[in-house]
Subunit: 415 residues, 2 copies
């Protein structure tokens, strides 16, 4: 069975000047992997005809499938459609379904229809048109020299709609693909080098078509096994066997047996134990709560939070003693413990996380440098505290604190 | 003056299977832009020798500068260093400074030194070595065929340290670059097509070396002017003139005169008015607070938040009436108004945002479909409410709600 390769081309100056972070590519790669297609290259180019054509030519040689996003909007900087039309030797014609879609969208939004909106329904006559139910620019499927090219809008939720509704199914119908399987586990508390030493024999003895990758991630370490094989059932069995062995080798540092967020890990534990959680956050400013509530169904185990940034909120809402703040400061074991106790009471929960630290860039002292964070976790009468020291910038210190707090509570719950 | 082009190559299977979102590229592009270097291509390839060499060859032809990240870790899946060593015709030798760095890092972490850690100090003898103060893998600067290649670790804060401390300065010393200037403004409340109609004459009359881009962004629209010109001073004046004209054309829908987040926009307004803000969040689960506190110095205007996910927290902490919840439900004008009133009182702030909605995927009804959100903003005795309806997935509904709430408060403050 032939291995099917794909390339992704993302188009837009905003990607090249760093104004936009490309989240589409990762999402598309996941969807293609699920149907056994391996991305071998991702290329980003600007809104520039020569650069787009060069990328189309090269990636058409590299891959049987070329997915293209971006540059399909109604404004003058969007040139992808005319460039594709010329490259594939077509001319622009009106697509009736796309036109109805544009008219309907304008009507729904109560807006007049402009010529530039109507132009969104002009499509190359050499393309198979894929309707866009979430926006005005349709998807376009071209074929040339044995490769398939699919152009989609760059707006993430529009691209996702077109991919999920049409493109993945159309690709599956076209290609017989091998099984491409990933299995990831997450560890905490041991560095990449030491884990590698411990599982060296395992790694050396893996069959050739199973690959092991190490992915350090916010103080955690993900280990990913990837298998590519023609037979889905035997590949799945073999990968499961390797995964079980790996799991047994890292049992003492294992956090999760799949690639999930720490919020999901914690959510599973809380659900299993039928416990309610809340947070009292100073330096993370609500981010722990937002990571927990990003997960659908989190209302089953999350009650709420107090984001206590000011001294007043720490005192009046959480009941931290004025004396504690005066004597020990906001970033202290005593304060974070009183914050945790207050949250247990106020939010009426079974367990809590409380954090108070200095995230930077300012506010550090010699005794409490930027990155110092007190974390308290626990339940009524059983609160444990720990001082963490991160050494990063503000954004990363906040993210590391969130993951560390959730991991501390997870460990406390599993004791 | 020659225009200096750069390519970025990111290496790692995790980028191609969608396990990791590439945030490095955007950051690096911003830093290069600041020193007048234009990224023309970004390429991502896997941990695969042939793919890495092909990318090096192609991008060396495309660009004078090729920045490479990833694949420098201490584990077997990291192959970038030996591949680069072979490609540039060197052999691995020990670098004394890198060795000392490795030993010091291990000592600081209280860990024994493994052979694979020591190996991090082996470097190609044909490279100029750039020390990594935040990790064990040093940066490497190669030259070949008139192009410069710089290899850096993929861990973001390590790459950033090397870029900021050394690489940007080294590139500046090497190239005389044109002025590459961007100027962005943000509008709200008018679609891309309609803004384009309004500023069509302006756009058509822009000088050739100034480019206008439209970037829709969470219900806002960014308009970016980019100028490339040899003379920095005249370019700056000319761009400022064009920007002022653009600003005057969109004055009624203008949100900000630079490319900032809505949290930053709101923060500026609050600082100028010397007001304190807080939030009462149900469906956003603390994300509005976390966006506000992501900004250094936000403690000057942010007191805290109550994340009221459960009915109990809404009642007991914010004082929402049981009758209101029973009669109107949590997602209602009356509830969100009482949440806002409660937050004003409890957090002792001058103004608040309160949100309650259904973010999905579950919980929608015919009357209140997924994406329905009540938003309340205002101050004591002057609260205004509005129902928004978003039509996206959970993550995007949450993000849209955060931006909408901050924008509503901004408008209220500027009335």
């Amino acid at each position: 069975m032939e291995k099917i390769y794909a390339s992704l081309i993302t188009i837009g100056d905003e990607l090249l000047i760093g104004q936009t972070i490309d989240t589409n590519s990762a999402w598309m790669a996941q969807r293609l992997n699920e149907i056994g297609i391996w991305i071998q290259r991702r290329v980003a180019v600007g809104d520039d005809k020569a650069a787009i054509i060069k990328a189309l030519e090269e990636e058409g040689k590299n891959s049987r499938i070329v997915l293209i996003t971006g540059g399909l909007g109604p404004t003058a900087d969007d040139i992808t459609k005319p460039v594709l039309c010329e490259y594939f030797g077509g001319k622009l014609v009106q697509d009736e379904a796309a036109l109805q879609n544009v008219l309907q969208l304008s009507a729904m939004r109560g807006l007049p229809v402009l010529q530039r909106n109507l132009d969104q329904a002009l499509v190359p006559d050499v393309a198979t048109i894929i309707q866009n139910k979430r926006g005005s620019a349709p998807g376009m499927w071209f074929e040339k020299g044995g490769s398939i090219y699919v152009s989609m809008p760059g707006v993430p939720h529009e691209m996702k709609g077109i991919m999920e509704h049409d493109v993945t199914g159309m690709l599956q119908a076209r290609f017989e693909t091998p099984a491409l399987l990933h299995h990831t586990l997450i560890t905490a508390g041991m560095g990449e080098s030491f884990v590698a030493e411990r599982i060296m024999d395992f790694e050396n003895n893996l069959p050739k078509h199973i690959k092991l990758a190490y992915l350090p991630n916010y103080g955690l370490l993900k280990l990913r096994l990837t298998s590519i094989s023609p037979d889905k059932q035997s590949a799945a069995n073999e990968l499961q066997h390797a995964f079980d062995t790996l799991k047994s080798l890292v049992g003492d540092i294992l956090v999760a047996e799949k690639d999930v967020t720490m919020g999901e890990v914690l959510g599973e534990v809380l659900k299993a134990k039928k416990l309610k959680v809340g947070t009292a956050e100073s330096c993370t400013g609500g981010k722990i709560a937002s990571l927990i509530t990003a997960i659908p169904g989190s209302s089953a185990y999350f009650n709420g939070s107090v984001v206590a940034y000011s001294y007043e909120v720490k005192q009046h809402v959480l009941g931290v003693q004025a004396e504690t703040l005066e004597k020990h400061g906001a970033v202290s074991e005593k304060t974070v413990r009183e914050m945790a106790e207050g949250a247990l009471r106020v939010l009426d929960v079974d367990c809590v996380m409380a954090v108070s630290g200095i995230m930077g860039p300012d506010g550090g002292t010699e005794e409490k440098p930027v990155g110092s964070v007190w974390i308290a976790v626990g339940g009524k009468g059983k609160i444990v505290t720990k001082l963490h020291r991160f050494r990063y910038d503000r954004a990363r210190n906040i993210d590391m604190t969130c993951v560390a707090a959730m991991n501390e509570l997870r460990k406390w719950l599993e004791l």
